[in-house]
């Protein structure tokens, strides 16, 4: 794996780290399986790209993307809280609707940003090569978001949100407005995912309608791999684990891309990624890693 491939995996891993944080907030904290992210990730990209091409300042455009993501999350939450639609189904409805909405926002399926100013532009002349600058910049943003999220979840309101997800009945009995809390949580979650989408579009030079497919899978994989590699109880470490999981997932893909030395073909990429991620989940829990692969534990 070359240095650039490694830094590239790190960079994309950090961008999807925002997705992992969003999925962590909805899936783990609020116990709300949220497929909206398949739509809010490209929504962030679409809003940011369309705004930038229209001449809006990239930072303002990214802010707009955040707001759009929050709105999408809010819609899903309202469908669930107010209209009692099952959370999974509510998120699917929003995801499906967002496909058409994203096309409307962009006006076409693909917007190129290669020649446009981005959030990275102010730092371009500082002398750092792009493959190093981008991960550093994205890393700074992601760490800031992660820190804010950790602070938030440790605050009174954040604890109320965690209670809502853990035991809604008990939370209501304690006087927590679970409906409103879910709305705020979902808005926050999808705002983070949309931020990820906006950063993805700007760091890769294009926003495409297809970049959303499979986002929930990547987010869940990141959260679960992170939990397995770095089990923790303190919220700060748990959030760090999500970011770690996302980066490890991308490293697994990067490693899989180099697997042709084993005689595998380009089309085996997904299989190799799945095997690598599976190993990452199985091996850490085993006392003797080799034995874990070979010997099956007898059922009690």
């Amino acid at each position: 794996m070359s240095q650039i491939a490694l830094l590239g995996a790190l960079e994309i891993g950090l961008v999807y780290g925002l997705v992992a944080l969003g999925v962590f907030l909805s899936f783990r904290v609020l116990s709300f399986p949220d497929l909206t992210v398949d739509g809010s990730f490209p929504l962030g990209a679409a809003v940011a790209a369309s705004a930038i091409v229209a001449g809006v300042d990239p930072y303002l455009a990214t802010g707009l993307a955040l707001l759009a993501g929050a709105l999408a999350g809010l819609v899903t939450a309202i469908l669930n809280v107010r209209f009692n639609i099952l959370h999974l189904l509510a998120s699917i409805l929003t995801m499906i609707a967002l496909f058409s909405i994203n096309l409307r926002i962009m006006g076409r399926p693909n917007i190129a940003l290669i020649t446009e100013p981005t959030v990275l532009s102010p730092f371009a002349g500082l002398g750092l090569a792009s493959p190093v600058l981008t991960p550093l910049f994205v890393g700074a943003i992601v760490l800031a978001v992660a820190l804010l999220l950790a602070r938030f979840l440790a605050s009174d309101y954040g604890l109320g949100m965690r209670a809502t997800g853990a035991n809604p009945g008990m939370a209501r009995a304690q006087g927590i407005e679970t409906g409103r809390t879910i709305c705020v949580g979902m808005a926050l979650s999808n705002a983070m995912v949309a931020l990820g989408g906006a950063l993805f579009a700007q760091t890769n030079g294009f926003a495409d309608i297809t970049i959303g497919t499979g986002t929930i899978v990547v987010g869940l994989a990141a959260v679960i791999v992170g939990e397995t590699i770095l089990p923790a109880r303190r919220i700060g470490l748990v959030i760090l684990a999500c970011l770690l999981g996302s980066i490890l997932y991308r490293l697994a893909i990067a490693a899989a891309l180099n697997a042709d030395v084993l005689g595998l073909e380009a089309s085996d990429l997904n299989l190799v990624t799945a095997v690598l991620v599976g190993l990452a989940l199985i091996l850490p829990g085993a006392r003797n890693p080799i034995k874990a692969l070979v010997v099956r534990r007898a059922q009690a």
Partner: protein, 323 residues
């Protein structure tokens, strides 16, 4: 909180990076190819490139390192592949299809890039102009000669007044093609009815929605719809609606006729550009090329099954007649 697990993970990461960190200097030429997805047309383009290189004396394993990675339909993976290739510093990167090309162009401004199978290179911001790209990027566009396609449809099925077009609104190439079709249609007295199919599973319902509403169906060079071409052919055969295609590889699969190019020839023409770059030409000076060879492919059996007859004059002109 350095548990055994975290330590194991850290060691794994360190090990993986150490394994591949050392860059090996190659005496041979390295051509790094990537596509957004694997399907017959894009694969044919890749084979064309490889065969053109072989014809010029570049043999895999001897003086050529021909790398290929497919993004499995995932733009994020396409971005990682782009970075992987940039890190390996090949002599030229050849992205096939628009999303792969955008990812590669966004990842490097130094390494020569020769894209192919991109319908609208200027719209995708890969190059500033087709005549003189400038920069490190050039390539081939696969824009169909839409006007000629519509003329062909009128020649085989003259009574066609309403033409159905199935396309994926999520593919930039198809949106460009549809705009062109809408522009060229009135001159031929055609009214266009569109049917959207965001995924290949939506192609069959889209085709069925056109039945009774159109006199003929046209399948543009759309990755999604071409993958599910057999479904469209079935609907055409069952309901006696002639199906025409934009690429010749679709004709043996059941489309009545196509005037165009096959992607293998596109690949070979791309290979010629790649050879020029390998020999030291500056990509910025090489104009973006369009397809030069057009051939007429016809399938009389399919025509009969769909209720039309191909005029004998056309059969004479055809480069290839499917039995």
């Amino acid at each position: 909180m350095l548990t055994r697990r975290t330590l194991a993970a850290a060691l794994a990461v360190a090990g993986a990076t150490a394994l591949g960190w050392s860059a090996t200097a190659q005496e041979t030429k390295t051509v790094a190819v990537t596509a957004i997805v694997e399907h017959p047309a894009l694969d044919a383009a890749r084979n064309g490139i490889r065969d053109e290189l072989a014809a010029a004396g570049y043999e895999q394993g001897d003086n050529l390192d021909f790398l290929f990675e497919s993004a499995q339909g995932n733009p994020a993976t396409a971005a990682q592949i782009a970075r992987k290739f940039v890190g390996e510093a090949p002599d030229v990167i050849v992205p096939i299809s628009t999303p792969s090309a955008q990812a590669v162009v966004g990842a490097t401004k130094e390494i020569p890039v020769v894209f192919t199978a991109v319908t609208d290179p200027v719209g995708a911001k890969l190059v500033g102009s087709l005549e003189r790209p400038g920069g490190n990027v050039t390539g081939m566009s696969d824009l169909s000669p839409i006007g000629l396609h519509l003329d062909l449809i009128r020649e085989i099925a003259p009574e066609t007044a309403r033409l159905g077009v199935i396309y994926n609104p999520g593919e930039a190439n198809s949106v460009t093609l549809l705009e062109l079709i809408r522009k060229e249609a009135p001159a031929r007295g055609l009214e266009i009815v569109e049917a959207a199919a965001p995924r290949s599973a939506d192609v069959l319902p889209a085709a069925q929605s056109l039945v009774g509403n159109v006199d003929a169906i046209y399948v543009p060079t759309d990755n999604t719809v071409v993958t599910a071409l057999e479904a469209v052919v079935k609907v055409g055969t069952d309901n006696q609606v002639p199906v025409f295609a934009g690429d010749t590889d679709s004709v043996p699969r059941g489309a009545i006729a196509a005037l165009g190019f096959n992607y293998y020839d596109l690949g070979r023409q791309t290979g010629k550009i790649v050879l020029r770059v390998l020999e030291g030409a500056d990509p910025g000076d090489i104009p973006v090329e369009g397809v030069q060879i057009t051939e007429l492919y016809v399938n009389p059996g399919a025509a009969e099954a769909m209720g039309v007859t191909i005029p004998p004059a056309l059969l004479e002109r055809a480069k290839f007649v499917v039995d």
